[in-house]
């Protein structure tokens, strides 16, 4: 027996209870235990939607609702533009066994005209949707996550063994701004591992070489070149405004300088270092986890800590560690997963093994302890890095009440 549209609509309205915009707003504000689903088409969603709503076009409701709302007894509010399509979608959910489904009366139009809050979604261009499609397919990233990546500012300290793979994968992922601190030029001996540079760019500045590679891979990435050595004088200016810092430097002096400034600025540092066949990796999240000085209060003497140019390194080791750093950076930007804050990951290429160690904040840390924060605010930081303070000369505990300090400002 054929039925008319009016009859179908009447049946849907009888089956699916409606909720007014005011009631829905109250429910949304007062309870986290409700899922709001926008069943309109992509082009409508892009013009604005209810805050916190999920978007499942009505044509995908049957396919996608179980993954989005696994609990069939969870309260669900559906809406469309005018309140009709959401009634029919509500019937579909009831057929699937959802027990607590309501439809927003009057839809998004009624919501807006009664003055309730709404937000604009992240809208990607057609080209961006194609370029980042493998990200967009995953709900953990999606358009919102990709928009975060596009808006993110990441600073690489060094475009060397760790920074090269990091720069390439950050650019590929669509990180909007990549700052690079490096004053070096490309040397033939770099190319065994620093894969962002090329043979025909030997002799050019590393920041320029990296910029060319990034532009070729993803022209929409903004590269900010800081062609200078990171020092106590310029570090505050250079790191300002960045969301995450990837430490790919190769001296202790720079690592301590960076640590102290990043702690003061509250910027997380994703740290890695390498030696021959091994690497160390962690995340220094200021005041939530330990900082570099909590981990290593003082640097070793030079003979105990040779860099790659003295000791050598299997090229793939900084590659692997740089990629693991990039993984941490992306997780921090996206706000997903568990970061390595408070955990030190050791990689051994010969064993092909990872070892995880527990790290803690040092309550007496001269950079991130409460006392250190107070002292810094008073203009008398407990810890400062003296130029050349990488060996036994100029290193040591100075004064019984300020242990683990490289140098104390006089």
């Amino acid at each position: 027996m054929p039925r008319t549209y009016a009859e179908l609509l009447r049946a849907a309205r009888e089956a699916v209870p409606e909720i007014s915009p005011a009631e829905a707003d109250l429910l949304r504000e007062s309870s986290a235990d409700v899922t709001i689903v926008d069943v309109r088409e992509d082009s409508e969603w892009e013009q604005g939607h209810l805050p916190g709503a999920l978007h499942i076009s009505r044509s995908y409701v049957e396919q996608d609702i179980e993954a989005a709302v696994p609990d069939r007894d969870r309260p669900v509010v559906l809406y469309c533009a005018g309140g009709v399509r959401s009634l029919f979608a509500g019937q579909t959910l009831q057929t699937l066994g959802y027990t607590n489904v309501r439809s927003l009366a009057g839809g998004f139009q009624a919501w807006k005209s009664s003055g309730h809050a709404w937000t604009m979604p992240a809208v990607l261009s057609h080209e961006q949707k194609q370029r980042y499609s493998r990200h967009l397919l995953m709900p953990e990233v999606g358009a919102e996550g990709q928009a975060k990546l596009l808006a993110a500012r990441v600073l690489l300290i060094g475009a060397g063994g760790l920074g090269s793979p990091a720069a390439l994968y950050l650019a590929a992922a669509g990180v909007g701004t990549i700052g690079i601190v490096d004053f070096d030029i490309v040397d033939l001996s770099n190319l065994q591992r620093q894969v962002i540079h090329t043979t025909d760019r030997i002799g050019t500045k590393k920041v320029d070489s990296a910029r060319l590679a990034i532009a070729a891979l993803n022209p929409e990435v903004n590269v900010v070149a800081h062609e200078e050595m990171l020092t106590g004088e310029n570090v505050e200016r250079i790191i300002a405004g960045y969301d995450v810092i990837l430490d790919g430097t190769d001296t202790f002096e720079t690592r301590y300088t960076l640590n102290d400034a990043a702690v003061a600025a509250g910027i997380p540092v994703v740290h890695a270092s390498v030696y021959r066949f091994e690497g160390q990796l962690t995340v220094f999240q200021p005041f939530e986890g330990p900082c570099y000085r909590c981990l290593y209060p003082t640097p070793p003497p030079p003979e105990l800590a040779p860099g790659c140019s003295v000791a050598g390194v299997l090229g793939v080791v900084p590659g692997i560690m740089g990629m693991l750093q990039t993984n941490e950076v992306l997780k921090l930007i996206l706000g997903i997963g568990d970061s390595l804050a408070g955990r030190l990951l050791l990689f051994d290429a010969l064993d092909a093994s990872f070892t995880e160690l527990r790290l803690r904040r040092d309550p007496a840390c001269p950079a991130c302890s409460d006392a250190a924060v107070k002292a810094r605010r008073a203009g008398r930081p407990l810890a400062v890095v003296a130029a050349g303070a990488v060996g036994p000369v100029g290193v040591g505990a100075v004064g019984a009440d300020v242990p683990f300090v490289l140098q104390v400002r006089s």
């Binding site: 060094g158 060397g160 063994g161 760790l162 920074g163 430490d247 790919g248 430097t249 190769d250 001296t251 202790f252 690592r255 890695a272 270092s273 390498v274 030696y275 021959r276 066949f277 091994e278 160390q280 981990l295 290593y296 209060p297 003082t298 640097p299 070793p300 003497p301 105990l304 800590a305 040779p306 860099g307 790659c308 000791a311 390194v313 900084p318 050791l346 070892t355 995880e356 160690l357 527990r358 790290l359 803690r360 040092d362 505990a397 683990f404």
Partner: protein, 90 residues
């Protein structure tokens, strides 16, 4: 036997070994046994008065001994000690 894992930078000093087995009841005894067997390690790991150098971290089964009982931390058979100096390479 307690296993002490030797970091790459110190392996030349212990004849290339990746790990050294010692018999000990504390971390301090284990490290003392290690440096007695390989005396040239002493200056690299310890200060003249026998304390650990500040640039060397020691982990017992993944935990930093600074937050256990330092060198007095007891070790059981089959425990694993990791000696870890900072590395700078990048």
């Amino acid at each position: 036997m307690t296993v002490i894992r030797i970091p790459p930078v110190l392996r030349a000093t212990v004849g290339g070994a990746k790990q050294v087995d010692v018999v000990a009841s504390t971390v301090g005894e284990a490290l003392t046994a290690l440096v007695e067997r390989h005396p040239s390690l002493r200056d690299q790991l310890m200060t003249t008065d026998g304390a650990l150098n500040r640039f060397v971290n020691v982990y017992l089964d993944g935990q930093d001994i600074r937050y256990l009982q330092e060198l007095a931390t007891p070790v059981a058979e089959h425990d694993s000690i990791i000696v870890l100096p900072a590395m700078a390479g990048g």
